[in-house]
Symmetry: C3
Subunit: 349 residues, 3 copies
Amino acid sequence: MQFTASQVAQLLQGTVEGNPEAIVSTFSKIEEAGPQSLCFIANPKYEQYLYETAAAVVVINSDYTLTAPVTATLIRVPNAYAAFAQLLQLYDEITKGQRKQGREAQSFVAENATVDETAYIGAFAYISENAVIGKNVQIYPNCFVGSNVHIADNTILYPSVTIYKDCRVGERVIIHSGTVIGADGFGFAPKADGSYDKIPQIGNVVIEDDVEIGANTCIDRATMGSTLIRKGAKLDNLLQIAHNVEIGSSTVIAAQAGISGSTKVGDRCLIGGQAGLVGHIQLANGTKINAQSGVSKSISKEDIAISGSPAFDYKSEMKSQIVFRNLPDMLDRIKSLEAKIQALEQKND
Amino acid sequence: MQFTASQVAQLLQGTVEGNPEAIVSTFSKIEEAGPQSLCFIANPKYEQYLYETAAAVVVINSDYTLTAPVTATLIRVPNAYAAFAQLLQLYDEITKGQRKQGREAQSFVAENATVDETAYIGAFAYISENAVIGKNVQIYPNCFVGSNVHIADNTILYPSVTIYKDCRVGERVIIHSGTVIGADGFGFAPKADGSYDKIPQIGNVVIEDDVEIGANTCIDRATMGSTLIRKGAKLDNLLQIAHNVEIGSSTVIAAQAGISGSTKVGDRCLIGGQAGLVGHIQLANGTKINAQSGVSKSISKEDIAISGSPAFDYKSEMKSQIVFRNLPDMLDRIKSLEAKIQALEQKND
Amino acid sequence: MQFTASQVAQLLQGTVEGNPEAIVSTFSKIEEAGPQSLCFIANPKYEQYLYETAAAVVVINSDYTLTAPVTATLIRVPNAYAAFAQLLQLYDEITKGQRKQGREAQSFVAENATVDETAYIGAFAYISENAVIGKNVQIYPNCFVGSNVHIADNTILYPSVTIYKDCRVGERVIIHSGTVIGADGFGFAPKADGSYDKIPQIGNVVIEDDVEIGANTCIDRATMGSTLIRKGAKLDNLLQIAHNVEIGSSTVIAAQAGISGSTKVGDRCLIGGQAGLVGHIQLANGTKINAQSGVSKSISKEDIAISGSPAFDYKSEMKSQIVFRNLPDMLDRIKSLEAKIQALEQKND
């Protein structure tokens, strides 16, 4: 497929700066662009590439001020990142081919499961008794759907997703491969002899509409009640979401973070990669947690940023980190002060 | 199912405080309780809910002193958490339905594998040559059991568990979905040109009785000998247990922790989430490791608590963390001291 | 199988010290050795065992100087670790049995996929349309190979590996169970109402020759272009490799580390367990990152070692850590100085 700069600009309702006939045939990152590449710049880190790129066309923010000549044709839009995302969506829609439908012969569907005829059930997928699978749901090979699980319309389970019994998955949810929904929460009662009794986990997991969950993530079922992932939350790979956790609407959690049992995360929070939260705390809406932070206390005020392990105010933590680097020097300064004081004290005696 | 408070009290050998005819029909967390809820309180964090709950019945410790009036009927027992666990076990036993038995048609069992007739082998499960599967073992769909693997009686493999060749799994073990037992340990010998030779991992993994392992955890096979998980250990989700590690009896490891090669963890240890241990160290029985800690040295004394990365004595680390938060202030105080000293020195000259 | 010390020495081109007729029948770690064990010593941590071992034969470095009498027969070689690795490879080659060939009946291979006749396709493995599977490739049960995926000769996918469409895997690659290659990168464009639009991830993953990847690792597909794992890289379990990351040749990454989007890691780097790298940075060749470090900036000089979160020079960080342990003492010293200064100031007034 080939497009001209002016065709692309029309799609994006942007304005062309340069040759409107410049031809593009592929999407590229600006640092890897070839002569027919369509690129974008949103992150200032990559600005330098604008002036050396071989790309034919670059989508860029309306308010960006050039600091040198550019050979690529520019398309100016209010938000280059969003506009480019829109182009990728269009491309993806066109190229991803027909949605799969129907049951592949080597799948297993329990007799009393209800599978909509527009759904795709891949080979080696297992749909247990009383499961309900909605319209246009895509269940790829090697998935397991437990008994009484409900999966609403237009949801996708990529290969090897496991959903234990009784869980609920909303509409337009995307779950990537290897993710496990509804395994037992980690609950044990210590006995007098030092060994443990298992505490049965009789709750479930509820995933609301428009959630996306990455690969190899674990969301444990509740001890009682539900572990809850609210509408539009975006969860990355390799997350640990423990029993009875609640994740707020449109909250974003980066890879390898872990949320301990019964903790409630508010709406629109941003949790960095490898961050950890203890159990039984609450985070207000809009809380931002830096990568690798360890959060040990509730945050009651909205839109606070925290960092560190244990975590506290982001800016303060950054300042402490700077001093931390110079601790050996600080110790030397104290030693020097001690020597001087001693000298002064002797003089004054 | 409905029960009265006095029926529940009888089961638990507890004493009723309030209406013995109060009716319960569901288990709930106290903060989510409705009018027919049976709840418990063990964690003091949740005490406040006792005085505002709509629950019909709350199980509570005998020695708990009320600080305000309560509308719920109370059942007093010596250990509310253990008593409630007992109720959940009973409920779970009654409701989980019949144990599955027999081979589903679409499974694969090698000709010379030995599968007890009371075992369940789900569709798309693969049992390799010379594997031995004990009584009442439940192997859910999409599991892989390698050649020469032995799985003892009453063990459960949830969907998509993989066990590589030669491993041993004890009785009453529970392994959750996506967990991989016996993949190659991470061993490579550097060559002169900077590339690596693989060191074959010819050992296995041995999991003793009554172990529970969460979802998407990895336990690597030994280079030689065995990686060993001792009786009653409880391992959470997404753990890394490297080659030749030993985990002691009744040790509990929270999610996303990692134990490096050849490290030996004692009995009854508690390892927090996202903690990491270097290789070739030993932890004494009863060691407690705080979440996100990094343990770089052996601990030879029993029942020590440590924290931090690198980890040291828990209480000392807490104190250092408090000072850490005020490091910028501390630097200012040093600067002020330096100025004052200089002034004094000039005066004294 | 039984061998004499002199036979083993001949294989390794080493020299025998002690009884050349000593018989070995098994490989053991030196701390677990029995009377017919063949062991090695390379790590000085284990030297003590040399003088108390029951092993028949120990492979040891030529330049090692005994500090006490030894009962085991020694075989001296220039590099004991490499020599022992060589023996294990030989043993592994002899004992691993015949390579599996051909398609098991319960597998699924799309009509227009191309599978070499020497390849093994296990039951419940799914090979999608237009996939190309090379010579001697081993695809174990429950694997999923997406459309247009190419897998080159002699590569092994252990059970339950998932490879999404369009990815490329080189020759002699080993991928362990549960690993997911090519799931969508984590990319979302925020909308005015606080919710997110998915950014389609139209790129792929390219894995070059001789790479080994552990269990339950995630390597996300690029937004555009390729996420790239270069020749001979060794990746451990439970890693997060985000979209558009590049991992250099012969770089080694330990378990549970995470590399954020678009970061480029050089050749021959060593990244410790649970380390995290932010996105859009570059690490020079030979960079060494301590376990649990958080890397927030590019490293432009080669062969640098860094530590901490945020990470800086390794040795400096170690020194700051030592002072950190004594922060409460340091605070006391400052208080004492302040008191003394005040006393001196009063005297001088």
